[in-house]
Amino acid sequence: MTSLRELTHKEDYLTGGHRLCAGCGHSIATRQILMAADKPVVVGCATGCLEVSTTIYPYTAWKCSFIHNAFENAAATISGVEAAYNALRRRGKVDSEFRFVAFGGDGGTYDIGLQSLSGALERGHKMVYVCLDNGAYMNTGIQRSSATPKGAWTTTTPVGKVESGKPQKRKDLTAIVAAHGIPYVAQASISNWKDLQSKATKAFAADGPAFLNVLSPCPRGWRFSSDMTVKMAKAGVQTRFWPLFEVENGEWKLNVKVRDPKPIADWLKPQGRFKHLLAPGNEELLAEIQADVDANWDRLLRRCGVTE
C-alpha cells in the first residue's frame, strides 16, 4: 500500500487547468485512480463532464494518451485500443507495456453505455472501467438517470404538486457488473482515499476486466457548497447509502463496516436536491428511502457473509 507521502510525489496524468467545476468529485477520483497505475495508461472517456472539461481543443489536460469517441461506447472503444495493443505487441510493433482505463459517468454507464460495458466485460479485455457516479446527467444540466436516488429532484423529475422527485429506486449497477464474473469489482468513494487507492491498484493488477463504481459528489447537481464535496461523499458512506465493498474473483467483501450508521436524512439534508423530502408531509417517503437503504445494506451483508 502506497503512503500518502509517496502519492504526493506521483506524476498526475490529469493536470491542473482543466475546466471541471470547483469542488467536482470527478477530478479527485480520476487522479486518485490513475495514481495506482503501475504502467503508462491510455484513457478512454465517455462523453460527459470529464471529457468536455479536460479536452477543449486545442488544449488537453491529459499527459497520457486519451480517446473520446461518443457517449455510450467508452467500454467498446477502450476494448478496441486494448485489442490493437495485443496485436501490435505480438508483431513487435509496440515495446512498452500499457494499462487501459475507461471513465464514464452514471448516464454513460448505468444507462446508455450498459450494453457496451457488458459486452466488453464478457469478452474479457484487460481493462479497468470506472464509473464516476454523480447520480444524474450533470453535463446536460441535471437530468435523472437510473443511478439517481429515489426522491431526488432533477430537471426531468421536478418536484411539483403531485410528484416528489424521482419515483424509482436506483439500479444496483455494481451487483450487475459483479454478475459478469469478472476478476475484480468494487464500490469506492473519494472520501476513503486509502480504500480507493487499494481498489484501483487491484483493478490495474487484475488479469482481465475490472470495474470501479466511485461516488463522485456534484456541487451543481446535488445543490451543496463546493467546499463540501469530500464531506458529502463521506456522509454517503456513513449513512450506508454508498457501502464500500469489493468482489474479488467472485468473493464479496465488505470493506467498511459502518457500525453506527447515521440516518439517511443526514446525507439528504445538506443537498438542495432533497430539500422537499425534509419538508412536513413527506415523512412517509423519507421513511421509505431509509427502509431501502437498510434493505440494501442487509442484502450486501448476506452477500458478504457478514452477520451484525
Binding site: P40, V42, G44, E51, V52, T55, I56, Y57, P58, Y59, T60, W62, K63, C64, S65, F66, I67, H68, N69, A70, E72, N73, A76, T77, I78, S79, G80, V81, E82, A83, A84, Y85, N86, A87, L88, R90, R91, K93, V94, S96, F98, Q115, S116, S118, G119, A120, E122, R123
Partner: protein, 394 residues
Amino acid sequence: MAKTVALTGNVACAQAMRQADPDVVAAYPITPQTTIVEEFSTYVANGLVNTEYVTVESEHSAMSASIGASAAGSRVMTATASQGLALMWEELYIASAYRLPIIMHNVNRTLSGPINIHCDHQDSMGARDSGWIQLFCENAQEAYDTTLQAVRIAEDHRVKLPVMVCLDGFIISHAIDRLDILDDDVAAKFVGEFDAPITMLDANNPITVGPFDGLHGSFFEFRRDQELATLGSVPVIEEVGKEYGQISGREYGLFEAYKLDDAEVAIVVLGSAAGTTRVVVDKLRESGIKAGLLKLRSFRPFPAEQIAEALAGVKAVAALDRSLSPGAIGAPLFQEIRSALYDQASRVPVINYIYGLGGRDVSMPNLEQVFNDLSQVAKSGQTGPVIRYLGLKE
C-alpha cells in the same frame, strides 16, 4: 501464380481480408454479411491470420472498437449490412472525422421496415454524407479486388479516410462466382505494412484523440478538411487501381465506361445490375441501337466532371437507383448524375428509374425497356416523367 477459384462474394472478401492480415477485426454478424465473419473466424481459429478478433455485442460496438483500435495505430477491418450499418451511423461520422483508415464491407441489404433481408442500396445511401469513401462492386471478383485496393486507398497518407466496400447482398455475397485470387505474397506485398502516422501507444508521445470543439470552434474547418481529403482521394483511387492492374491484369478506375464512345442512350448504375445491363447493351448493339453503360464504382468521392465528360455525347441518360428517397426529386444516384450533367452545354436529359428495392429482381426485359424509353426521349426531345419505377407491381 494467381489461381482461378469458385467462391461466394463473401468468401472472396474474407480471403482478401486474410491476405491483408488486419491487426484487429471487430465485427458482429448480420444477414447477408454473416458468412464473411464466419469465414474469417475460421482463419483466426486455424492461425492463418495475426488478427485480434473482437467479437462485439453489436454493430455500434463493432465500429466503436474499430475506432479505438485504429486510433491506437493498427490496421482494422470490419463488415456489416443494413440495420447494422444504421446502428453504427453516429460512429461512421466519428471514424471519418478522426481520419481513421478503417476498411469495411457493407453487404447491401435494404433497411426495415417491413423487415426484409434482400438487396438494395438504401443502407449505403444513408451513409453517403458520413465522410466514408464508398466503392461499389459488380461481382465477387471486384469485391475481392476492391478489398485489397481499399486497404491501400484508406491507409494512403494523402487520404487517411475509412473505405466502405459495397457489394450486393445475396446477388454477390451468396452466389458462387468464378474469380482469380492473387498469391498470398503478391497480395501482401501490394497492401504493404500499415504505417500509422500517429498512435496512442507511444508512451513518450501521448496524444489526445477526439477532443471537444465546444468553445474555439474549428468544427467547420475540420469538416472542410475532411471534404478536401475525400476529393484528394480521387487520384489515389486511380493510382491504386492502375497499380493493381499491373499485378492482376485487372485495372480499376472511378467508373467503367462500356461502349459509351459512340453511345446515344446510356444507363448509369451501381453494383451487380451492371452485369445484366452490359448483356443488354451487347444485345441492343446487335440490332443497331447505340446503347452504352456507365458503371459507377466510386460513389464517394463522386467523380462528377469525369462522368459529365464520359456522358457528354449521349442523347439521353437513365440513372438506375436501387434506393428511394421519399419526397425528394428522384433517388441519390439520379440527383448527382443530373447535377453533374447540368453544367454541360448539351444539357443531356436524365431520367430516374427506381428498381430492385427489397431484392426485387431486375431482368433483361426491364433494362431493354429502359433503353427503349431512352430512345424515345432522345428522338422526341421530351423527357416525360422524370421518376419511373422498374418492376413495381401497380
